[in-house]
Amino acid sequence: MKSAEPPRFILRFLEWFCKPEYHADIEGDLLEIYDRRAADQGRTRANLLLCKDVLFLFRPGIIRSANIHQPIPSNGMIKNYFMMGWRNLWKNKLYSTLNVLGLTFGMVCFLLIGLYVYDELNFDSQHSKAESIYRVITHEKSPNNEATTVAAAGYMVAEECKQTFPNVEQATRMQRIGRANLVDPENPVNVQEAITVADEYLLQVFDFPLLEGDQRTALKEPNSIVITEDLAMRIFGRTDVINKNLQFSHMDNPVKITAILKNHPQNSSFTFTSVLSESTRYSNKEFMREARSDWASQNYTVYALLKPDANADSVSNEITRLVHANASLEPGTKLSYSLQPLKDVHLKSDGIIDGARNSNVEPVPQGNPIYVTLFSFTAILVLLIAGINYSNLTTARASSRLKEIGVRKVVGAVRSNLIGQFLVESFITMVIAFGVAVLIVAVLLPSFNEFVNKKFSLFSSVGLGFWAAAAGLIIAMGLLSGGYVALLLSYFKPVSLLKGQVLRSGSDFSVRKALVVLQFTISTVMIIGTIVLFRQVRFLNESNLGFNKDLMVVIDVNVVKARSNFDWVKKEMSKIAAVEQVSVTSHVPGDWKTLVRVKLKKQGGGHQLHTAYVIGADKDFLATYGIKLLKGRNFPNENDTSAILINEAAARILGITHGSNEAVEIPQSARGSSFAPVYDDINASFKPRVVGIVKDFHFQSLRAKIEPLIIAYHDNPIYPIDYYSVKIQPQNIQATLGKLKAVMVANEEREPFEYHFLDEQLARFYMEDQRSQTILGWVALASVVIACLGLFGLATYSAQQRLKEIGVRKVLGANLLSIMALLSKDFVKLVLIACCFGFPVAWFGANRWLQEYAYHIDVEWWIFALAGVITTGIALLTVSYQAIKAALMTPVKTLKLE
């Protein structure tokens, strides 16, 4: 009779935990009882009882000790592992170098990009209460449904919320009121600075480290000013200037320096160099009256420090209610508030206007989260490629070590010994690579800093956390890539190892093939990404903007007389031989400051108001910038403040086709985010006539579409002139600049003469892209190099494996080319498969990125073809070295070997 079979797992369990010397007879007893029970009580019940019995056997007297299978004490072995690992590295110098090089490349890329990303992610983390500091954001919807989101709020919001809401511990407000001349009265040299006004709590909410002064009182008294070391150095040439006086060009009273701030660290969203105490203005009755009723304006940047356990959403709801209760809003306006955590200010401010600043103050520089993500991904991918490389090379090389593994097993090594040995080997390699990588990073860091415009130093600029994370990742990489090798190689049975039968197993080789495909897929994507970025950046810098940007000197108007006396200045400048044209404007095309916007409509053309940008300019503007006039005429020579030119986009929305004195109405204008009437009288409008239509030109960055634009006469009620644009000749530019300065200084001796070249200024729009392009280019190069190192190793291995085959083929008459083809074929196939995977990914990614630009290149087929040819070519070159070497070998030599 065939007896019932007991469940195997429970017997396996018994075998696993039971002391081996007890096992056989206990199992015998159990089975005897089992059989009897199965006959008496049925199989199910027998099974159940068997399980119960085995479970009751799981007790101290029976369970074997844990290390019963560790015949060799492991601490002695570890020394041996290190020695063997070291010897193996030295024995195969070529492979070891390839391994270490590949890993080093990967780690260098990873560390450099890691530094950059870490810095971007840790913006504004210097403040000890950074977690609880929030920026107040206003969301406004005007009656005609125009939504704006501004990082600003009213005076009373800051004043009231810290008193009314228990969850708000403190609040501070600041205002960047504009640029002004700061002078040391004892040594009057003008220094133009953006001036910030803030209340006394600014230094309490934030931890701006002070060199001198008291953070509790520094901004308390009227006429106090806090300046940074850097500004102190520029004005005084030293930093021990506390309690000294400074003079503002526009203020009667001198201000006293009450504290010196340390320079802002590079990862700070705050760039101010001087802070004037808000109390300076408290004596101004007009200011106080306005401030007391200022609930809903967007004139102040407000930061709130919440209690540690407070909920930001509920506080922002309370603020919204508070403002609605107190402010008198225009009917139809919707207003709500939200709180943005300080740590989001740098990367997550997309779509939030940086408010509460004069339009001549540059907005806070923003980080681009897309690039941060892109970089993080590439850094990890490169590390991944390097890890794969290691696994691939080591497994490929394993054939030469199979005998060693076999002997080890026979002598008594268990699997864990072998795994330990391979892991130690991979760690030795990782550590060497890491050391070399850190050295290389240290060497490269200065040029890298210059390039990304940051000030990293290897150890001081990032915390211990960064290095811990980097070390952790590298250990993880060692475990993963070394672990795969270790598990694979320790798996084989010793007998077959010693017979030399293994590594024919198909699965191993296909894993390796898959890894090569993955490596080259990543490389292909990166190459395509670099080409697309490169072409887009070149397109941005070289595309025809519709005006002439070359050899254009733009001089800022910084003193009153440079504005009022511009006719004289222009005339004097025109006299310089190298000057071709001079024009005065309120803004320049491609201005980095906020352009002024207006609401306008055609007179008698319905009630709907359109939005357009405004540049104020004189009659020489079109000639200086080479902007084409399509219809109508230029500004007349005599003062005619009511003439305007419009661009094609504006002509379209206004429905103007001729430019023959069509009248338009401009009731409102906005210098920042909110529109206000042009004239004091709310019902009055600026009513100019359109005298001409100009061809569209890119007055903003190419990310944006060309918007409607009005070119008003320089003497317009909306915005005064702010720049001289001087078109010069290419010869001897320095001398020309000197002469221009002489003219400006002759006009007003306090003139600081700030100038820049328009083309350089425009390039700054795309600086980030340029930077990314270069970084991505290097990373792509590194990834290709690493992948090729791997391929080189694999090719060497496969050529060695097939030496005999090649010998036979040569004897039978194969020529050099056919043998090269034989060896290269497999690898080229892999690279081609990788291209098939890489192309769609790259196509998708590139298109997504290009959508950011209103004007961009198309992703064309030849980019893919080029990337394909590059990768295949490089792979072929790598492989062919080995192929040629193998093919040139004398067959006698290889066949003789046995």
Binding site: Y22, A24, D25, I26, E27, G28, D29, L30, L31, E32, I33, K52, D53, L55, F56, L57, F58, R59, P60, G61, I62
Partner: protein, 110 residues
Amino acid sequence: MKRFQLGEFEEIVLLTVGVLHGNAYGVTIKDEIEQRLNREVTVGSLQVTLRRLESKGFLKSTPGDSNESRRGRPKLFFEVTAYGKKALDYCKESRDELWNALPQLVLNLK
């Protein structure tokens, strides 16, 4: 006189091994105790006790031949050593001594 530490279950197992003289292995010992004393014995507790008695030197074991009835697994036969016999004797004597010392009165209670 040397003192022997013998628990109740240990004593029973030791005695049973003696009773089964020559045919004492896991299953028979378990069956014997279950039949005679009408109590449930798990393989786990029995095995632990057997091994403990063996390590104390009260029992010794000899592996038997493997045969078909147990799917090729060998039996492990136990027998009581002289030392084990001594322990049993000591156990019985000490009990008897206590019994004898017990006043009649106590036994008549009920």
